[in-house]
């Protein structure tokens, strides 16, 4: 049997790696993928606590998180296609229309 804290620490490590990827990536698609990585890390913590407490609410929350992530991916990739069409670049540094 694996202690719950191991799962939670792994979840925190994956979340931190997602944050680092979010900071360092310049490609807008890679930034979007790092957001998905953070969502996955949170899901892992949800399932670990759900199993450790014997309460299934956490797993249902994970299902909702996955559904929202799917909707987010559809809309976000539509926005990315629009940006690529208008700017001819996927670099986030080039998307600076609102910058002073």
């Amino acid at each position: 049997m694996v202690p719950t804290s191991y799962y939670v620490i792994l979840s925190a490590v994956l979340f931190g790696l997602g944050v680092i990827a979010f900071i360092f990536k310049r490609n807008i698609i890679s930034i979007f993928m790092s957001i998905e990585l953070m969502l996955n890390a949170v899901n892992l913590a949800f399932v670990a606590f759900s199993q450790s407490k014997g309460n299934l609410d956490g797993q249902i929350f994970v299902l909702f998180v996955i559904i929202v992530a799917a909707a987010e991916a559809a809309v976000g990739l539509g926005i990315i296609i629009l940006i690529a069409r208008n700017r001819q670049s996927l670099n986030v540094e080039r998307v600076d229309l609102l910058k002073l």
């Binding site: 049997m1 694996v2 719950t4 804290s5 191991y6 799962y7 939670v8 620490i9 792994l10 925190a12 490590v13 994956l14 979340f15 931190g16 790696l17 997602g18 944050v19 680092i20 900071i23 360092f24 990536k25 310049r26 490609n27 698609i29 890679s30 979007f32 993928m33 998905e36 990585l37 996955n40 899901n43 892992l44 399932v47 670990a48 606590f49 199993q51 450790s52 014997g54 299934l56 797993q59 249902i60 299902l63 909702f64 996955i66 559904i67 992530a69 799917a70 909707a71 987010e72 991916a73 559809a74 809309v75 990739l77 539509g78 926005i79 990315i80 296609i81 629009l82 996927l90 670099n91």
Partner: protein, 166 residues
């Protein structure tokens, strides 16, 4: 070392290596394939915990649908190796230390709270798919129906955003 612990460490190492590879790869398609490795490793961890339904949904929805969408868009846009423009000085010097510090704080805080609240081990047999479906369609039926509306709105939004204006 029990077999469960061994499997946990193998899958955890796979997940961490996959996410490191996501950061270090320069080409978006390589990052996407690394992310698929992470998701499959997480599905294995869910199976190890005894959450079969979540593992199946993780493989089907995340590894199947969402990542296919990502790979499709990367290939559609012909995304190349990311170029390095004027990199933020603050992100360059303070990014990794602050990220590691954040990881440490989160891990320390949550791990301490798990020890005090409940010292149980993970890996029960409580999670049957039947119980999950009963809960979804009894207690959580209203949010569940709302998610179908959310998916509908997302589909319409994606179509409106991606269509070429005349």
């Amino acid at each position: 070392m029990t077999p469960q612990l061994l499997i946990f460490f193998v899958l955890a190492a796979l997940a961490v290596v996959g996410s490191l590879s996501l950061i270090l790869q320069k080409h978006p398609i390589h990052s996407a394939l690394s992310l698929i490795v992470v998701m499959v490793a997480l599905a294995g961890l869910y199976l190890l915990m005894g959450a079969e339904f979540v593992a199946a949904v993780q493989i089907i929805v995340y590894g199947g649908a969402i990542m296919v969408l990502f790979v499709f868009v990367i290939m559609l846009l012909n995304a190349g190796i990311e170029e390095h423009t004027n990199f933020s000085k603050l992100a360059g010097y303070a990014g990794v230390p602050l990220g590691i510090a954040l990881t440490g704080f989160i891990a320390a805080a949550i791990a301490r709270s798990t020890d005090t609240v409940h010292a149980a081990t993970t890996g029960g047999t409580i999670a049957s798919t039947r119980q999950i479906s009963t809960m979804i369609f009894k207690e959580f039926v209203y949010p569940f129906e709302l998610t179908s509306f959310l998916i509908l709105v997302a589909i319409m939004g994606a179509i409106v955003l991606a269509q070429r204006e005349k």
